[in-house]
């Protein structure tokens, strides 16, 4: 498949708010279940090992007809579009939903789901904020065991150690491929436009990991056949978009305004575990250990022993970022409460930054284009970090 065809396929999956791909998978696997999950992180390996399809939900910019009736104006957009998708029947292909701990809105959405869809499986997955193996690790192992028991009961497939290790290996490959593309984009951002990389990641939300891995490999291989022009853009690290996602047009706008995005936190669940999970021994222990040791630093994670923003500064250095864009969803508590600390951290290192907010249904990008374009120009003219 050509590069264009690959991206076209990913774009169609991105636009597929009725989860046709999930329905197709279920048709091809009679009796098999699909489990949705909200951002940011759930161990997809467990769902996969249960013979189910993990389906990442990241809201949508669909027209909201009923979703607004459930939320006040001062609450972010992703829960209202998620409710809209559900009450309009577009999530009917899902047999259950997981709500990982990220913020109070997603947390409360888990209870709303229980009230609104009492016949569907819904679980709040409490990720520990204590990263001591004997304390948070033990608790997390208990949470995962409970999840496994639920999925076994729901799907009827025992999650054996062998099955879980096999799933871990597949997702390790996925993480490796994603990371490889992120590394390549940082080296040659003109070759890997962020819009394309983003669409590739979003495809992983609805495709089985085996197929997603093939697509990532094909894209990587196809890239070698194309030569894209290098522009005199600024190298930007973008942060704050780990949950509610900006519209595609906004990502495109940032790029077109003269910014190469060399690092971001879009679809962060795919890179939550930084590196590989061990593929031998007790699979559940391996998932727990990876969570404790390799969890990415983001706003929903309590960082106990390092100054806030150190990871962002470090990432900026590693990626040779020339500036930071704080790009958070309106009313996103974790991102917006984090932002002053992160801004202070980058500013103290002489790294310029700019900030704006968006909503997943933002439709006007001109102001953002002017802002990021000016930011890029200012880096080119005066930046020296």
């Amino acid at each position: 498949m050509s590069l264009e065809a690959l991206i076209e396929r990913c774009q169609s999956l991105y636009e597929d708010v009725s989860l046709k791909a999930v329905r197709a998978w279920k048709d091809a696997h009679p009796g098999a279940k699909a489990i949705g999950y909200m951002p940011v992180y759930v161990p997809r390996e467990i769902i996969h090992a249960a013979g189910m399809l993990p389906v990442g939900l990241m809201g949508s910019d669909i027209e909201i007809i009923r979703g607004d009736a459930y939320y006040q104006s001062y609450i972010c957009h992703i829960p209202r579009s998620t409710i809209e998708l559900a009450v309009s029947g577009r999530l009917d292909a899902l047999d259950g939903m997981l709500f990982p701990s990220i913020c109070d809105v997603i947390r409360n959405l888990s209870g709303m789901w229980k009230l609104m869809f009492p016949d569907k499986y819904a679980k709040y997955l409490d990720l520990p904020q204590n990263f001591d193996a004997a304390v948070g690790g033990t608790f997390y192992a208990g949470e995962l065991r409970a999840l496994m028991a639920d999925l076994e009961a729901l799907g009827g497939t025992p999650i054996t150690n062998e099955r879980l290790l096999a799933s871990i290996a597949l997702y390790n490959r996925n993480r490796e491929l994603v990371q490889g593309l992120y590394d390549l984009r940082a080296e040659q951002p003109w070759q890997v436009p962020t819009v394309e990389l983003y669409l590739l990641l979003r495809a992983g939300n609805v495709l089985p990991v085996e197929e997603h891995n093939q697509i990532l490999e094909a894209y990587r291989d196809e890239l070698q056949r194309v030569e894209r022009p290098q522009l005199d853009n600024s190298r930007i690290v973008l942060t704050g978009s780990f949950c509610e996602q900006p519209p595609l047009g906004l990502i495109r706008t940032i790029e077109r305004s003269g910014c190469y995005i060399v690092e971001d936190d879009f679809v962060l669940g795919s890179r939550w575990i930084q590196g590989a999970v061990a593929e031998e021994g007790d699979a559940l222990d391996n998932l727990v250990q990876a969570f404790l040791d390799k969890t990415v630093e983001t706003a929903s994670v309590y960082i106990a022993d390092k100054p806030k923003g150190a990871a962002l500064v470090s990432k900026c250095r590693q990626r040779q970022g020339e500036g930071v864009i704080f790009c958070a969803a309106s009313f996103c508590d974790p991102a917006l409460l984090d932002q002053p600390m992160l801004a202070h951290a980058v500013e103290s290192q002489g790294i310029p930054f700019t900030e704006f907010k968006y909503s997943e249904n933002t439709g006007q990008f001109q102001v953002i284009k002017e802002q990021t374009g000016t930011f890029s120009d200012s880096i080119k003219l005066w930046g020296h970090s």
């Binding site: 009736a69 459930y70 939320y71 006040q72 001062y74 609450i75 829960p79 709500f99 701990s101 990220i102 913020c103 109070d104 809105v105 947390r107 409360n108 959405l109 888990s110 209870g111 709303m112 229980k114 009230l115 609104m116 679980k123 709040y124 997955l125 409490d126 520990p128 904020q129 204590n130 001591d132 004997a134 304390v135 948070g136 033990t138 608790f139 208990g142 949470e143 409970a146 706003a299 929903s300 309590y302 960082i303 106990a304 100054p307 806030k308 309106s330 009313f331 996103c332 508590d333 974790p334 917006l336 409460l337 984090d338 932002q339 002053p340 600390m341 801004a343 202070h344 907010k357």
Partner: protein, 427 residues
Amino acid sequence: MSEQASVQKETSMVLQKEMIAAHYKALEEAPQTGKKLVYTFVPGNLNELIRCFDNLLPVHPEINALQNAMRKRTGKMVTDAEKLGHSEDVCTYVKADIGMLRSGNIGPAGTKIPDPDLLLLSYTGCFTFMKWFELLREEYNAPVAMLHTPYQGDGMITDSMRAYVVKQLKEEVIPKLEKVSGEKFDIDKLRELMRRSRQAEDDLVAVLESARNRPSPIDAYFGAVYYIGPMFSAFRGLESSVEYYRALRQEVEWRVKQGKGPITPEGELGQERYRLVVEGPPNWTSFRDFWKMFYEEGAVVVASSYAKVGGLYDQGFRHDPDHPLESLADYCFGCYTNLNLPGRVALLTKYVKEYGADGFLINSIKSCNSFSAGQLLILREVEKRTGIAGGFIESDLVDPRYFSGANIKNRLESYLQMVEQKRKGAA
């Protein structure tokens, strides 16, 4: 006559005022007395544990913020924080606290609150707490003891959850309290404090449940703000708290015998015309004006979720001296905003029925997602289960820009008229 001079106070309110004044005085004098300050939060607060250490004093940033708001000081604090880069979208308690800190940390008593020696991050029922103390850690460079309390996502407390919290208490919280205080933890002292907590908790529950009477002798929202104060903050487990709740209970029981309604800032309420259950915190910047909108209409709040934000004592929880650490864990799990939405709906429905309410009102707070996300569904569910019509108003905690008095009054009056019409229709 000034507004202050015209306000009537019950004996227990005077007693509480003295307790709070003494506490802020002790905080102010900490640098001289050598006491160490532990900043912590109201929901899931570990007051008995902190008070085990003679050398430690608790500070509650939410209470500083709300008390500053009642004194009309938070408007500038919030905007000062926004000028420093804090988003207009986030919790105004946090911004009021940051604004207070940056202007000399002058607390509601008008005196400087010394810097924290420890930030005890009891992360119960509100994600923002975690970010708040990350921000304070940056500001003060103070150590943090993190206590992550799992959420009751499935509506229950599991052994795994309890074991997790107890382990954190043993391995994270208590060692840090020992280090900061320079004292050894004494579990028997904790048990003793918990015994006193139980006494006060029994009395508080009797006070809250007195609202089942007609007329209710208390307002279980506006009045309850004062009643829960010592229990939810620095005093639970202390003798002063036991005395306060004993006095309060006696006052309330006397009022029941006399068939009296609640005391409002303008005196005793005459006729009880409406009995309401209220969900959500109150607005603090216009607290008196807000309350007045209710008592002018003869509306009495007979039960509220806000009065349970620091513990569900009326649902049977008591601190247990025989299982002190497990009991602290269960206390943290049981705070109102740590309940899942089905649990909150069930509790509010129960209140409407058990307290004979004829109205259910939500005061939705702009900057508190923990409370507010999902409240419109709660409204519908409670209406469905009780058959009464719900009302919905919006305001904020401590940002005066989000209190629209005329709008709220208009909505409230319309709502109460609707309740009246429904009553007439039913009769």
